[in-house]
């Protein structure tokens, strides 16, 4: 990362200390949290494993953590790893037959779509436990003026969450970078082009794909858990389901799926768009932002399949006449 980027990051990290107020902090936190989730999705997406089902992992992350806390008083420090474990199990359960039997492309997308809906339905079906469609709030552990509870992983001040979100956002970018530079990246690229040929040069196709899926699923679940801890309210439609899964896909496509900061740009884009619309219209018009997202997703695929950032980089490369930077 170059000097300018480090400086910008440093400045950004100082933002909460400037007293910008809860509203802007909330926007920043939300963008960073979702960037983390979107980046995790793109670990699979960039290699052709388009999952329409990441809502399932997000939902598992959020609900398992919250349910264990609410019903058994299990601290999220244990709850979150358990949620990640479940997400990984599900990922393997679905991923293994898909990859082992070369179910790709259309089939894979449909299977993931079914998965995310079933998870959502399961959450609703277990309404006695989960609160069903009405959603649920993690039991608040902060009594009186208590600013935070490490045991409950709840924090009263958004400034703290800012740094947590920042850390995870950077962590997500770090994971992306590590994979990008690893043998796994080349293996996945080979696989996405020619599976059989890859197998014949010794790449264990199933294992590689499973590994990427597991990482992606676990990180997404982590994002879901964090979201629950931050928002302190979850319901099946905001953390699981097809609409959410597609929102993830859209944001990454809009930002740029093949570039490190693409998902982040996508997160900023979609969230600011939603906020902007809400402010402009004066109140929440049900479905307006989603309608625009949907339309734009379609238009983006047709006209700008490499997303905003991708397009920008393309133009820069053309202007500079040099090879495009890898999103740094």
């Amino acid at each position: 990362m170059n000097r300018a980027a480090w400086i910008a990051l440093g400045l950004f990290a100082l933002v909460p200390l400037l007293g910008v107020g809860d509203y802007y902090l909330h926007i920043a936190i939300t963008i960073m949290l979702w960037s983390f989730v979107y980046t995790s999705w793109s670990l699979m997406g960039r290699f052709g494993l388009v999952s329409f089902g990441h809502g399932a992992f997000l939902g598992i992350g959020a609900y398992v953590t919250t349910m264990l806390w609410n019903h058994y008083g299990v601290t999220p420090w244990i709850g979150i790893p358990l949620a990640l474990l479940l997400a990984v199990v599900v990922a393997v359960l679905i991923g293994y037959p898909c990859f082992r039997f070369r179910i790709t492309g259309h089939y894979f997308a449909l299977v993931t779509l079914a998965l995310t809906e079933v998870v959502r339905m399961l959450i609703v079906a277990l309404r006695d436990v989960t609160g069903g469609s009405l959603g649920v709030t993690p039991n608040i552990a902060l009594a009186g003026g208590q600013p935070f509870s490490l045991w409950a992983l709840q924090f009263a001040h958004k400034e703290v969450f800012f740094y947590i979100a920042l850390a995870f956002w950077l962590f997500g970018l770090y994971v992306w970078r590590r994979i990008d530079g690893s043998m796994m990246r080349y293996a996945m690229e080979a696989i996405s082009q020619e599976e059989d040929a890859s197998e014949s040069v010794g790449i264990n196709v199933t294992r590689t794909k499973l590994l990427i899926t597991v990482i992606s699923a676990a990180l997404t679940a982590l994002g879901g858990a964090l979201y629950g801890q931050y928002q302190l309210y979850i319901n099946p439609d905001t953390v699981s389901g097809v609409a959410l899964s597609l929102q993830i896909v859209f944001a990454v496509i809009a930002g740029g799926m093949f570039v490190q900061l693409g998902p982040t740009v996508g997160a900023a884009f979609t969230l600011l768009l939603a906020e902007g619309l809400r402010v402009a219209v004066g109140h929440e018009v049900h479905g307006l932002d989603s309608t625009i997202y949907g339309l734009m997703l379609v238009l983006f695929i047709i006209y700008m399949p490499h997303g905003i950032l991708g397009k920008v980089l393309e133009l820069r490369a053309r202007k500079a006449g040099a090879a495009a930077a890898a999103g740094d």
Binding site: G48, R100, H106, L113, A114, V249, G287, G294, I301
Partner: protein, 289 residues
């Protein structure tokens, strides 16, 4: 124990009737995939459009029901053609992932647009057709009509595909796309016709469903994932496989809903689906993917 049996039998019969409609849904999706090699992820949303169309024509504009049905079917057939022409055609030449994304985007868009246009309320045709009683078993008339119509439609489609030139061309194009021009067949035109038929089938399903279910923007989520699972299990593009799988799933949902709540029926169906994927990943009738 006797009463228990009767209710179970009723559930099974209801399941069979439900299977008819699911089979119709699967048919449309499989047809389009088999011919054009694209999955209409937004297929259930097209059904939703049909349901809204019938609702508004019948309830708001007081159009006679049968005419509302005809217009509804035509509307969705047109939607299918528009979907292909404007949304899918531009990405047909690029990677398959783009086709998934573009129809996925349409799912998103159509759901959101419906929310925007019609609000989140559940709307019902308000028809209460009586039930048919066979001994101690009650079967809703709407279900019987639905299953019957679905069956007739499927037979009609089968005849069309078997006997007409266009039908044979549609079957041929999924077997060898490249040489179709040598036969004097314009593939683009076949795609449009197939899209119209696929849309029409969705429209017909919409008419049958709106008799029994409320329409709301997320109704597609009730039938979409199930249809996808059915098609994958039956083998994408395999119309016979989809037909059989539809009835299996319908039974699972029906029985699951009988013993527990309806959502559990879907969960059971999905569990079955996963298990089948491990056992027979190439689908029920095992054809190449």
């Amino acid at each position: 124990m006797e009463i228990f049996d009767v209710f179970l039998l009723e559930t099974v019969l209801n399941g069979i009737l439900f299977g008819g409609v699911l089979a119709l849904l699967a048919l449309g999706l499989n047809l389009v995939f088999g011919v054009i090699d694209v999955v209409w992820i937004c297929y259930a949303e097209l059904v939703m459009i049909g349901m809204y169309a019938v609702y508004f024509l019948y309830i708001v504009h007081h159009v006679p029901l049968l005419i509302a049905f005809v217009v509804g079917i035509a509307t969705v057939a047109l939607a299918g053609v528009a979907l292909h022409q404007f949304i899918i055609r531009p990405v047909l030449a690029s990677e398959p992932i783009n086709q998934l994304l573009v129809t996925g985007g349409m799912l998103f868009f159509l759901q959101a647009a419906a929310t925007l246009a019609f609000g989140v309320q559940f709307r019902n045709l308000g028809l209460s057709l009586p039930s048919v009683t066979l001994g101690e078993i009650m079967l809703p008339q709407s279900r019987i009509y639905a299953a019957g119509t679905a069956l007739v439609a499927m037979l009609g489609l089968a005849l069309f595909l078997k006997k007409t030139y266009i039908g044979i061309a549609i079957r041929a194009i999924s077997q060898d796309r490249a040489i179709m021009p040598l036969m004097g067949v314009n593939p683009s035109r076949i795609y449009l016709i197939t899209s119209a038929i696929g849309g029409g089938l969705a429209g017909l399903a919409a008419c049958l469903l709106v008799l029994q279910y409320d329409v709301h923007p997320a109704i597609g989520l009730t039938f979409g994932p199930i249809t996808f699972m059915i098609c994958v299990l039956g083998g994408l593009g395999n119309m016979v496989g989809g037909f059989i799988a539809a009835f299996i799933f319908a039974q699972l949902i029906s029985i699951g809903g009988f013993f527990f709540q309806i959502e559990w029926g879907y969960v059971m169906a999905f569990a079955f689906f996963i298990v089948m994927m491990f056992i027979r990943p190439q689908g029920l009738l095992g054809r190449k993917s």
